[in-house]
Symmetry: C2
Subunit: 182 residues, 2 copies
DNA sequence: AGTATCACGTGATACT
DNA sequence: AGTATCACGTGATACT
């Protein structure tokens, strides 16, 4: 439907320099002009929106650690809390200087076996979701660990708070001479 | 350019049931048919891609804490490491049950002063970038804090490591009955 | 030839 | 009427 919209924009009419005073023609020209301006404005707005979104996606791509983009990344199950402290884990390597993808090409190997997949938008968004989940779990685990440590410390330190400077702790520090009933 | 592409798809021709054997017509019909199928396939592919991207963006929206979506969010400077442990900070409230945006409307207030902005794609992506940066800083700060605590603990515990199980620590743990030489 | 990617322009729609 | 949002279809393009 709306098959009459693709009229060649009447530029050929306008260039027909007679500029005849036919009111119908003039009206049509004006209407077309108006539509043209509105259309172009609309296109500009849309292009800005598009660029903004793309810019943000590119920014996301720079934030997720590069090792998350490279391999096939087997869609880690969202409840992998155990692996959080695994040393060869993909986060916090640096996250400020990344990206690049230089690939000094020597042979035309298929990009699949090279491990570089050029980072689709879909890929980037998928990895962003994954990364946020990972970071959230990491923060949570660290908070737990922190609480444990704080509590363990408080065991030593609460004496200090209650009774002035902790002598027992000092004893612990110089532990070669402690005496203790069983 | 390409103003001849919008031909009405020849459905009117095909319905002209004569099915005349004109080879030119038949060829044109076949070509159109082929183009139509390719176009529709292409559209389906593109729609799938679009849906995937939109799904991921919606997923991101569920991950970022809702308080980051609501207010005007003054584009926090990326070097705000000091505020990381500020208690009224936008992360880790729950992050599993969020979103919603119910807004039991009473008066037609302008959405700007209501603090609900309906979450554009651009908004979601912007906030995702912000949130990842925030989480990265938080993880880093927590790691530092953890190292401090571990070290502080090691001051007390290195004795234990040297001389077997720490008895003194057990005394500390049951600290209400401890006897202690002034 | 099939199956992806992307940017683009456009109509529908909403808020100002 | 201006300024946004969105989904859609389409051509260009690439890899298989």
């Amino acid at each position: 439907m709306t098959s009459l919209k693709d009229r060649p924009s009447s530029s050929s009419l306008r260039d027909e320099k007679g500029m005849n005073g036919d009111p119908v023609t003039k009206q049509a020209i004006l209407a077309n002009e108006k539509r043209r301006r509105r259309r172009e404005s609309h296109n500009a707005v849309e292009r800005r929106r598009r660029d903004n979104i793309n810019e943000k996606i590119s920014e996301l791509a720079t934030l997720i650690p590069e090792c998350m983009l490279d391999p096939s990344a087997p869609v880690s199950s969202p409840t992998a809390t155990d692996e959080i402290f695994n040393p060869n884990n993909p986060a916090l390597s640096d996250s400020t200087a990344s990206q690049a993808k230089k690939e000094t090409s020597e042979e035309p190997t298929t990009p699949l076996e090279a491990g570089v997949v050029k980072a689709n938008k879909g890929m980037i968004l998928r990895k962003s979701v994954e990364y946020i989940r990972y970071l959230q779990q990491l923060v949570s685990a660290q908070a737990n660990r922190n609480r444990e440590l704080e509590q363990a410390l408080s065991v030593y330190r609460e004496v200090d708070d209650d009774e002035g400077p902790c002598r027992r702790c000092r004893v612990c520090a110089g532990a070669d001479t402690y005496t203790y009933v069983q």
